[in-house]
């Protein structure tokens, strides 16, 4: 399938990225004992939504944890928001402008939605006077206004995921890292979430790790595909679709995904 045909299928053409390079990684690796979870990733990204696809164990979560400054790389170069995360003061500045949703986000069951989001707003060192308005706006953006004062222990899995998204966006981050954000969301919520992603991507760099290729097709301007710790494809959804002539799958993007993976494994 040609790129023109793929665009005609509804996969958006990439918009030119503004000059700011919010993620600049070169030769990034991460080892856990003898296992090399991330094996030399080169990645540059400015504002926009970047989808990160890949099978289980491909290294997506390890890469996101490094970008979130939770774990240091074993080797390689990393600049985030044009700052060096090795230096304490710069790491702190990065973290003030960072939104992160881990794959397994724990919750304080006794906290209300507002208390949880507010807690992380304060830990992000937002000015306390700004916090109440920012918390209310974040909670409304994920459509949890009706549950704002509910204890987390009373919420469903999908609602808890939205609480996690609210804490990630509460500081209006310049760099937003979301690990499986749509897990547990129902179809209606996923559609609303994709719209939110597109909106956030207009000003911030949004990196979304997911297994759901339809989320990538609908919300991401660019897509990276990881396999065995390496990025084996980086381009637009339309370009990925164009690679799908020999791939297996029901949707064009799935065929592109499986064709690229098969090629990388071969």
């Amino acid at each position: 399938m040609s790129i023109e045909t793929a665009v005609a299928h509804g996969y958006p053409e990439p918009r030119p990225l503004p000059s700011a390079t919010n993620i600049d990684a070169g030769g990034l690796t991460r080892r856990f004992g003898r296992t090399e979870a991330v094996a030399g990733v080169d990645l540059c990204a400015g504002p926009g939504v970047l989808g990160l696809l890949g099978p289980n164990g491909a290294g997506k979560t390890s890469l996101l944890r490094m970008l979130a400054t939770v774990i240091p790389p074993s080797s390689g170069r990393l600049q985030l928001l044009e700052r060096d995360p090795r230096i304490h003061a710069e790491r702190r500045e990065i973290r003030r402008r960072l939104g992160y949703l881990p794959q397994n986000l724990g919750y304080y069951p006794g906290f209300t939605v507002i208390e949880f989001v507010e807690y992380f707003a304060l830990l992000k060192e937002m000015a306390p006077a700004r916090v109440p308005a920012a918390v209310a706006a974040a909670v409304e953006r994920v459509d949890l206004g009706g549950k704002a004062r509910a204890r987390l222990r009373t919420l469903s899995g999908g609602m808890l995921r939205r609480v996690g998204i609210a804490q990630a966006i509460v500081n209006d981050p310049q760099l937003l890292l979301l690990d499986e954000p749509t897990a547990g969301l129902d179809p209606e919520q996923r559609i609303a979430f994709r719209a939110l992603l597109r909106e956030l991507g207009e000003s911030a760099t949004v990196l979304v790790s997911t297994h759901l290729v339809e989320d990538v097709g609908a919300a991401c301007g660019r897509v990276a595909l990881m396999e065995s710790g390496r990025i084996v494809f980086h381009g637009t959804p339309a370009e990925l679709v164009a690679r799908g002539d020999q791939g297996a799958g029901d949707a064009p993007l799935e065929r592109g995904y499986s064709a690229v993976l098969a090629g990388a494994r071969a």
Partner: protein, 245 residues
């Protein structure tokens, strides 16, 4: 004069923004007096909130700690005069500190590690908070127990040592339970070894020569915690390229 129709919003009113203004007021959380004092002392609203949410400073834990100290004071008063409060305090503080922060204890630990308020500061503030609370409870229990007046403050240094050990092991092993086990085991061994050597169970908190050992242990453990929570910043480091441009 208001000429708008009742129940219908004027066209230029952004109802979403109006509701948000209302929501901010309705949902605003009133911080407790303790939290406001902590914020003033620490100079950080985030640290203050982290302190008042310490798992081992929440009401059930405090009640349990007070209960243990009360039982120790009562047993000391009614028993043979052994300073049980002094012997219990280090173990209790060690457990409290190991359960103050870390993976498995703090549900959102990974997220907290990506925050601008450093997890090391949270750890430090919570550890000091637990130590302070246990010290106050221990002093009160020692005063009540009467028979242990001579060792009222003798347990403070061992308490710091056991707490530091539990914290260091919990940090390195990334398991609060392992930290608690290490702290309790070390303290039990110290007490039992003292008893075996001298025939006095309280020697672990009364023998001044042991205090050098406790201080050394606390310092070493503090260094271990600092190293274990350090993110490398010098070049070349794990963050630096090996051949990448």
């Amino acid at each position: 004069m208001n000429d708008s129709t009742p129940g219908v919003a004027p066209a230029d009113v952004d109802l979403g923004r109006v509701w948000l203004g209302v929501a901010v007021q309705v949902w605003r959380r009133r911080s407790s007096r303790l939290e406001r004092v902590a914020e003033r002392l620490l100079g950080s609203a985030g640290l203050a909130r982290a302190l008042v949410t310490t798992p081992s400073l929440l009401l059930p834990w405090l009640i349990a700690s007070a209960g243990v100290f009360a039982a120790g004071a009562l047993a000391t008063r009614l028993g043979a005069g052994e300073p049980l409060v002094a012997l219990v305090a280090p173990a209790l503080a060690g457990a409290g500190i190991a359960y103050a922060y870390g993976p498995g204890i703090d549900p959102a630990w990974e997220l907290a590690c990506s925050m601008a308020v450093s997890d090391r500061m949270v750890l430090l503030v919570r550890a000091l908070g637990v130590l302070a609370v246990d010290a106050v409870l221990g002093v009160a229990a020692s005063a009540v127990s009467g028979a242990a007046v001579g060792v009222t403050f003798g347990w403070l240094v061992p308490m710091v040592a056991v707490s530091a050990l539990a914290l260091a092991v919990a940090t390195v092993a990334r398991s609060a339970n392992v930290g608690v086990a290490a702290g309790l085991a070390a303290w039990c061994i110290t007490v039992l070894a003292g008893q075996a050597a001298t025939g006095t169970v309280a020697v672990a908190v009364t023998d001044g020569s042991l205090f050098v050992f406790y201080v050394a242990c606390a310092v070493i453990c503090a260094v271990v915690v600092l190293c274990a929570t350090r993110i490398p910043r010098e070049r070349p480091t794990p963050w630096t390229s090996r051949g990448a441009s």
